[in-house]
């Protein structure tokens, strides 16, 4: 049952129409849409966020839920029904252990340079590993660290959030615990400040990517020894 709308102000015909429009847009798209993308389809002065919250509430008990992925929204099948829908798997190659570790290090330590990833893993990370994660659409180059060599910093994408069903990086499993134990630091526990996975555009010690970086997406090999 869809919960009765509890905001009387939103019950107007206009709001109802706007909700229908949002439903149609979100339903039709397989990719998450941002509020601003959808706002262009609504009447003037519509409060998109409030409408989306209403919609989310309504669909919460349904077989299809409205979920938030960073600043975007999408309809997704309810998590508890997953076992029913399990498809004849489109043959998915499991991620290698190296790729999996690299992904979680990038997720929890972002922005992270390759040297930092390697420091955590204690082993050199092949360039192919990060490429593979970028190809999967989960990892992106964020910027360049303002240190000698200006190494590229990596972070996760919205596609990463969507794939793993996270609303934001704050939802990463066990994040608080890791923060508390100081394990997300690059240094020894006593002296450390605890950096969190950084969600913003660029951190203080990051420069934007160089224009070339985005073309080939090829990180110069010098950076890595």
């Amino acid at each position: 049952m869809i919960a009765p709308d509890e905001m009387p102000t939103e019950r107007s015909e206009i709001a109802e129409r706007n909700l229908r429009v949002l439903e149609a847009l979100l339903f039709a798209s397989s990719e998450p849409l941002s509020a601003s993308q959808m706002a262009t389809y609504l009447g003037e002065g519509a409060n998109v966020t409030a409408l989306l919250m209403t919609l989310q509430q309504r669909y919460a008990p349904r077989g299809v839920n409205l979920v938030r992925r960073a600043d975007k929204w999408a309809f997704r099948t309810a998590e508890d029904l997953g076992f029913l829908l399990r498809r004849e798997e489109q043959e998915t190659r499991p991620l290698s252990r190296a790729a999996l570790e690299t992904l979680s290090i990038i997720a929890y330590h972002q922005p992270a340079t390759r040297a930092e990833i390697e420091e955590v893993r204690g082993v050199a990370t092949g360039k192919g590993t990060i490429d593979l994660l970028m190809e999967a659409g989960w990892v992106r180059m964020r910027g360049r660290r303002r240190t000698p060599g200006r190494p590229v910093t990596y972070g996760t994408t919205d596609g990463f959030l969507d794939h793993f069903g996270l609303e934001s990086l704050g939802d990463l499993p066990g994040l608080d615990e890791l923060k508390g134990s100081g394990l997300l630091s690059n240094r020894l526990p006593p002296s450390m400040q605890i950096p969190l996975p950084f969600e913003g555009a660029l951190r203080d010690d990051e420069d934007p990517l160089d224009p070339d970086d985005l073309d080939g997406a090829d990180e110069p090999e010098e950076e890595h020894e």
Binding site: A28, E79, G82, V120, R121, P173
Partner: protein
């Protein structure tokens, strides 16, 4: 270093201590991975492992591997050197004048790194156990994307249609083609005629007067004039005749070149 493709979450059952030496060093993702594996065999919380014992096990492991003349990657040797140093720091009490980090500090650093690597592995496994898109959660199966449909609308007019049809039908019809014959004065003809008409006359006479007889026929007029004029220029070049025109569009006058004896 190759990647172990097996499902690493099911950490392989740690072999008995004596078997350690048979473990393929290539099965590890680097020295830290090897250390972590050795630490796990202490079967205690990583926080309370004996770093000294760990260092000794690692060094022993590397030693056995090298005895078997198995190539050991440089990182493993670097780690071995560092652990040997750590071991010496842990066993020798720190002198007050020593600026170097204490053995306890180094041990704590190693412990931290092991814990951090373990934590990242756990996180990775937790991530993979989440309801993932395309595995437990699904996106719209039949997306109806907002698309700009470029629909071509063909344009054709009835006239175009009829024209196309007519020209095809005409194309198919075998018609007898008879080329239209036109009288043309060749340059040679014109030259012969001019020579004959001018004869020995040394008076200036308009060209049209010489040709009056031929110019009467409208179909031939153009060719007669053109060929005669062209021939007259040739005759001038050869020095047979002279040409002059007193005004623009005036008559073209010609006579036998008086300097030249026929």
């Amino acid at each position: 270093m190759t990647t172990a493709q097996t499902d690493w979450f099911d950490t392989p059952v740690p072999p008995v201590a004596e078997d350690v030496m048979y473990v393929d060093v290539n099965g590890y993702e680097g020295p830290l991975d090897l250390l972590l594996d050795l630490a796990r065999r202490q079967k205690v919380d990583l926080a309370s492992i004996s770093v000294l014992a760990l260092a000794e096990q690692y060094l022993a492991f590397i030693e056995t591997v090298r005895e078997k003349r198995i190539e050991v990657a440089a990182d493993y040797l670097v780690m071995a050197a560092w652990l040997a140093y750590l071991k010496s720091r842990l066993m020798v009490p720190q002198a007050p004048s020593d600026d170097e980090p204490s053995g306890e500090m180094l041990a704590a650093m190693l412990q931290f790194r092991l814990k951090r690597l373990e934590a990242m592995r756990q996180s990775a496994s937790q991530l993979m156990n989440r309801p993932r898109l395309g595995f437990q959660v699904y996106a719209r199966g039949m997306p109806e994307p907002i698309e700009i449909a470029r629909k071509s609308l063909w344009e054709a007019s009835l006239y175009g249609l009829l024209k196309a049809y007519s020209s095809q039908r005409e194309r198919g019809v075998a018609t007898d083609y008879s080329p239209h014959l036109r009288t043309v004065w060749s340059l040679q003809d014109a030259r012969d005629i001019l020579q004959r008409l001018i004869g020995d006359s040394f008076d200036w006479v308009p060209m049209d007067t010489y040709l009056a007889e031929y110019l009467a026929s409208p179909t031939e007029r153009a060719t007669v004039r053109a060929s005669s004029f062209a021939s007259s220029l040739e005759l001038v070049r050869l020095g047979h005749i002279e040409l002059k025109q007193t005004e623009t569009f005036g008559p073209l006058l010609m006579r036998r070149n008086p300097d030249r004896k026929p």
